[in-house]
């Protein structure tokens, strides 16, 4: 039995190594697959991408392919790593990308504060850092994102238009994610006055651990009970949580109540077509990936941040310390998708007509003829 154990373990180890070696493909894994992808002409510059947690639909489907295409079109090599939601791991990942030869590093930070040491180390070595989608409080980083405050504003505008007075539920994202607060800022800019004037009451508002749809469902369920269903609008900061909110609303026959989301994921766009969600703010992640990729190539080629096309200044004020950081940034404009402009996402090949119109009565919505 002892021998059998050892043989078994040896076999297991071999299997694991084989999987690890083959696992590169077009997803994560640093130099192993980096070495595999040859670059058309040049290959003398390398861009390293540090994902915080690859485990989300949009990164592989939209962001990464666009980013990689832009990088390779610019004549550079793309290498990447996945920190699996660990802040410590991400610091190690960034160091490794640099030691593997990255000339510029793009970071999607798991935690905007915790990543700072890695950024400082990179800057000290003269390696430019691009903060992707999530802000890093360091003036030396190049911030490429969608204007998340604008996202909040756009989603709130759609809802406020439909419900200028009444009782609101706001389902926020993860407490330690700065984006949750940016979105809330945007929402506030739209409904703040109405709240002050008493036209709108926010009965219920809270963060949701991990942006978890199931937790959002339970929260909305409990709030609806507490308010005896006297709720007129639900603002959800993303589509995942909107899925949970939608389920809770459906159970009470309240599917008609305006509901928001962002990310334009397939399920949400389908709900928009069905009428059970009012708006999903679309951030064409491909545009973001392309912008970051192009900026990375420019920076790797020696340009300074100010030289890069399309930049503007973004002033970030830390809500606790009140410290201001001025960031050179490219902020893309998100698009709110409602029943009226679903054709935009279809035409841009973001989603197919079949996916949007699943279960939709033909002719009830423009795009589902």
């Amino acid at each position: 039995m002892k021998l059998l154990n050892r043989r078994f373990l040896a076999l297991l180890a071999v299997i694991v190594m084989v999987i690890a070696a083959c696992g590169g493909d077009d997803t994560t894994g640093s130099t192993a697959e980096g070495g595999g992808t040859t670059v058309a002409g040049g290959g003398d510059c390398t861009v390293g991408m540090s994902w915080n947690n690859y485990n989300e639909e949009r990164w592989a489907k939209h962001d990464e392919p666009a980013m990689k295409a832009a990088i390779e079109a610019g004549g550079c090599e793309y290498i990447s790593s996945d920190a699996g939601s660990s802040e410590e791991q991400q610091i190690t990942d960034v160091e490794k990308l640099i030691s593997d030869g990255a000339d510029v590093v793009i970071i999607l930070a798991q935690n905007t504060q915790a990543i700072k040491p890695a950024v400082e180390a990179a800057t000290a070595e003269g390696i430019p850092v691009i903060a992707y989608d999530r802000l890093i409080e360091d003036a030396n980083t190049f911030y490429v994102s969608f204007d998340n405050v604008l996202v909040g504003q756009l989603m709130a505008e759609v809802i406020f238009d439909l419900v200028p007075t009444g009782n609101y539920i706001i389902v926020k994202g993860n407490g330690s994610d700065a984006n949750s607060d940016f979105l809330r800022e945007g929402i506030e800019s739209v409904i703040g006055d109405a709240v002050a004037a008493g036209d709108i009451t926010i009965c219920c508002e809270d963060y949701t651990d991990n942006w978890d749809p199931a937790l959002a469902q339970t929260a909305v369920e409990q709030w609806l009970t507490q308010e005896n269903n006297e709720v007129d609008a639900v603002v959800s900061e993303n589509d995942g949580m909107a899925t949970g909110a939608a389920a809770a609303l459906a159970a009470q026959g309240l599917s008609d109540i305006p509901l928001s989301g962002q990310d334009a994921d397939v399920a949400a766009l389908n709900r928009v077509a069905l009428g059970t969600q009012s708006v999903s703010v679309w951030k064409d992640a491909r545009a973001l990936g392309t912008a970051a990729g192009e900026a990375a190539v420019a920076l790797a080629g020696g340009a300074t941040m100010a030289d890069v096309e399309g930049t503007a200044e973004f002033v970030y004020t830390n809500k606790e310390s009140q410290v201001e950081t001025v960031l050179t940034s490219i902020l893309l404009v998100p698009i709110p998708i409602t029943q009226d402009n679903l054709n935009l996402v279809v035409d841009a090949n973001w989603i197919t007509v079949e996916e949007v119109c699943a279960g939709v009565t033909a002719g009830s919505v423009a795009v589902c003829a």
Partner: protein
């Protein structure tokens, strides 16, 4: 092992003469004092929240919701108890829920519809069976590595936590799959997923009869063997209380009426005129709860009435003794983890049905809630001790606290702190209680 007492042994179970306390009375008559304590705790929590929330907690609607919210964790907790009793742990259940849930989702969302057509009435049952089978397979796989290769369960299931989460993502490239098949959705509760009035009363009636039958058979069995009987009044009281609780619960579920919008829609559908006082359609027992009850009965049976359950307890109590008694311990461990896997499958089905969607992050952190439920319910991580009803109560206590706090608008971070404190306190109380009991 304590060394000899000179005068061998005081009489152990005294004849029921002078009753020293309620505690000893209950114990003499084989009533679990710890369980009674937990029920008391639950009642206190419920009453407290009811007052703090301005009277919304102890309403049919809230209790109905609460029971559905508790279901998926409670279902898994019944299996986790046995895992913990056997001196093992399973940290991978959350990730298993994720991968099994995603597979069930993609089956009913893409694969089966393309094979047998969308809306086919068989879709839900095929999906469910597939999910259970996958759960059993993963469980047996992990169990085999633990039992036959000898890697500690902590390590194997920790690896599983990572591996199955990865597979959950790979199943659909991280997409969110929604909505679920119309029949499958019923498994998750919601406005259509319950038994309705008549069905619920029937179930309640059957349960009540069952409780009485168990008590009667128990008495008859004791008499046949000449064992000491519980006083008649006590058995009668237990029967009455049991029936009251069951029928009361059914009454509560039947007092929760379909929300007005949906009732109107049904009235329209059936061509019924809308009556003046409104149409009151009782929802009845939600399917997830029915599933939970079924799981509880089965797992209780397995733990107490089957040799398999007895073997799990003996392995937990003294693994060497179990081997020397000729018990096939390795096989038992594999079966324990396989059982856990099947329960994961059931729970995943309930979860995705309730959310009406599957996301690759499904079930994240579930293992912590499940273990907490089992432990708050009295399972000891040292092994050998734990009960199925305890785990359910544990899950109910934790969920009551969480949902109650949401209603009270306690912020999410504070909720986490409170739940953590409650968990540790509950186990601390349990540990000191056990220590005192051992010294008695």
């Amino acid at each position: 092992m304590s060394v000899v007492e000179a005068a061998p042994t005081q009489l152990e179970t005294p004849d029921p003469g002078p009753r020293r306390s309620i505690g000893s009375f209950l114990r003499d008559n084989e009533i679990d004092t710890r369980m009674a304590g937990m029920i008391l705790l639950l009642v206190v929590i419920w009453v407290a929240f009811h007052f703090l929330s301005g009277g919304t907690f102890l309403t049919p609607r809230n209790l109905w919701n609460l029971s559905v919210q508790t279901s998926s964790i409670a279902i898994m907790a019944t299996g986790m108890v046995l895992v913990i009793v056997s001196r093992n742990i399973d940290l991978s259940v959350g990730s298993m829920v994720g991968v099994v849930g995603m597979v069930m989702a993609i089956l009913q969302f893409e694969w089966l519809p393309s094979l047998i057509g969308l809306g086919n009435q068989w879709i839900w049952i095929i999906t469910l069976v597939a999910g259970l089978a996958l759960g059993a397979l993963i469980g047996a796989f992990q169990g085999s590595i633990i039992a036959y290769v000898g890697v500690p369960s902590f390590v194997v299931t920790l690896g599983g936590l990572l591996v199955w989460r990865g597979f959950a993502w790979l199943t659909a490239s991280g997409r969110t799959l929604a909505p679920m098949d119309a029949n499958f959705q019923l498994l998750g509760g919601g406005s259509r997923g319950s038994l309705g009035e008549t069905g619920s009363w029937i179930v309640g009636g059957v349960a009540c009869i069952g409780i009485v039958a168990l008590l009667v058979l128990g008495r008859r069995r004791r008499r046949k063997f000449g064992f000491r009987l519980r006083p008649m009044w006590l058995d009668a009281a237990l029967g009455v209380i049991g029936c009251l609780v069951v029928l009361g619960a059914v009454w509560v579920t039947n007092s929760y009426y379909l929300p007005e919008n949906l009732a109107r829609a049904i009235a329209e559908e059936r061509g019924i005129a809308w009556p003046q006082g409104g149409l009151q359609i009782p929802l009845g027992i939600p399917y997830p709860v029915l599933i939970l009850v079924g799981v509880t009965l089965v797992m209780g049976f397995v733990a107490n009435r089957l040799r398999f359950g007895r073997y799990i307890f003996s392995i937990g109590g003294n693994p060497e003794a179990a081997v020397l008694a000729g018990i096939k311990t390795k096989r038992t461990i594999v079966k324990t983890f396989m059982t856990m896997g099947i329960l994961v499958g059931i729970s995943a089905a309930v979860s995705i049905a309730r959310l009406n969607a599957a996301v690759s992050g499904l079930g994240t952190l579930n293992e912590l809630y499940v273990i907490a439920a089992a432990v708050v319910g009295g399972a000891s991580l040292a092994g050998g001790i734990g009960t199925i009803p305890g785990a359910i109560l544990g899950a109910l206590v934790m969920q009551s606290l969480q949902s109650g706090m949401v209603s009270l608008k306690v912020s999410a971070p504070v909720q986490d702190v409170v739940l953590g404190i409650v968990l540790v306190t509950a186990v601390a109380i349990d540990t000191s209680y056990r220590r005192r009991a051992a010294q008695r």
